[in-house]
């Protein structure tokens, strides 16, 4: 079902639930993996993905369609992730690096990555980036999202995003170079 069709059906109370169910089925995987890359842990990603769609349901009626539907959903998901990480830091009084280290430890314990040293170091390097820079890195490197769309998701200018991604790549390359065996 196309986005405009979902939105039209959502406006009709009789077909609202059906339309929303279609919307969830269409975007659940993308939202889940966008969140999972940020929080690493499956249970956290599961909670946040549900919260994202609850918010989508709550505000979809007021969605003005000045951006693509998925860009708007991505923006909600992004804010949920950043709020989650920042509240976690406040709750446990953790400095920035400790949350990065905690996420890196979760990556290290993940059986999917076992034995791939370069990939492990790459993930550790990414998780050491500040949250917002990591978000920019994920959107560009993994999702290959155009900068213009990234600007809509993050509310940041294209120039600032390019600079942030460039610095993120440098940091990641330096970390992996320093921390891998010859």
């Amino acid at each position: 079902m196309e986005d405009h069709e979902i939105l039209t059906k959502f406006q009709d109370p009789a077909s609202r639930n059906l339309a929303f169910n279609q919307l969830v089925r269409k975007y659940q995987s993308k939202v889940y993996w966008h969140v999972r890359k940020m929080v690493v842990d499956h249970d956290d990603a599961d909670d946040l993905t549900q919260d994202v769609f609850i918010k989508v349901w709550k505000y979809l009626e007021n969605f003005r369609q000045d951006a693509a539907l998925f860009t708007w959903i991505y923006r909600i998901a992004t804010n949920e992730c950043l709020n989650f990480l920042s509240s976690k830091r406040r709750k446990f009084l953790l400095p920035l690096t400790d949350v990065g280290a905690e996420l890196a430890a979760k990556i290290e314990a993940d059986p999917a990555i076992a034995g791939d040293e370069i990939e492990l170091k790459l993930q550790q390097a990414i998780l050491r980036l500040p949250d917002k820079q990591r978000l920019v890195f994920n959107l560009r490197y993994y999702d290959e999202m155009p900068y213009e769309q990234m600007a809509e998701v993050t509310g940041t200018s294209v120039g600032a995003l390019k600079a942030s991604y460039h610095h993120a790549v440098k940091k990641v390359e330096d970390y992996v170079t320093r921390n891998t065996a010859d």
């Binding site: 109370p13 639930n17 929303f20 169910n21 969830v24 089925r25 659940q28 995987s29 889940y32 993996w33 999972r36 890359k37 690493v40 499956h42 990603a45 599961d46 993905t49 549900q50 769609f53 609850i54 349901w57 709550k58 007021n62 990556i107 993940d110 059986p111 999917a112 990555i113 791939d116 370069i118 990939e119 790459l122 993930q123 990414i126 490197y141 993994y142 790549v169 990641v172 390359e173 992996v176 170079t177 891998t180 010859d182």
Partner: protein, 155 residues
């Protein structure tokens, strides 16, 4: 010398190597989300207040302040007029009891009656003590003057 790692030279994956979610996770997720959606009634109630979202934050704050102050003003206005009626009714019912019965009750019930009570009573109603206090006004005034200052403040 160790070769520098270059991200462009590294095979690009669509996402990091993380373990997959449970096999039927995406089949069940829509049902779990739909079960958590707010009920229709709550949605209608929220819609009734939805117009507030179109106001600016400053206007919303101002509106809330007016509502709170209005609430105080209304409760103050409504609480100021009512309570005189029961007090009058109580006084009226006491007035219906003969004075001799009241005095008899006070003298026999063990209630402690101070001089100051008698003085206050007599000052308010000079005839009430005629049956048992045979004193002139001058004598009463002397008795009151002799009371400690705390008691005389009742007058």
């Amino acid at each position: 010398m160790k070769p520098a790692f270059k991200l462009d030279a590294h095979p690009r994956r669509p996402r990091p190597l993380l373990s997959e979610p449970p096999a039927d996770y995406f089949d069940k997720l829509p049902t779990r989300i739909m079960a958590r959606l707010p009920q229709a009634e709550a949605r209608e109630a929220a819609a009734a207040w939805g117009w507030l979202s179109f106001l600016s934050p400053a206007l919303r704050t101002g509106l809330a302040s007016v509502a709170v102050l209005g609430g105080f003003a209304a409760s103050f206005y409504m609480s100021g007029t009512a309570p005189l009626v029961p007090a009058t009714a109580a006084t009226a019912s006491l007035d219906a009891v003969p004075s001799t019965e009241l005095v008899g009750y006070l003298l026999t019930s063990g209630a402690r009656v101070e001089n100051s009570d008698l003085a206050v009573l007599t000052a308010a109603n000079p005839n009430i003590a005629k049956g048992f206090i045979h004193a002139s006004e001058a004598e009463l005034t002397d008795a009151l003057d002799a009371q400690p200052s705390d008691d005389s403040t009742y007058l």
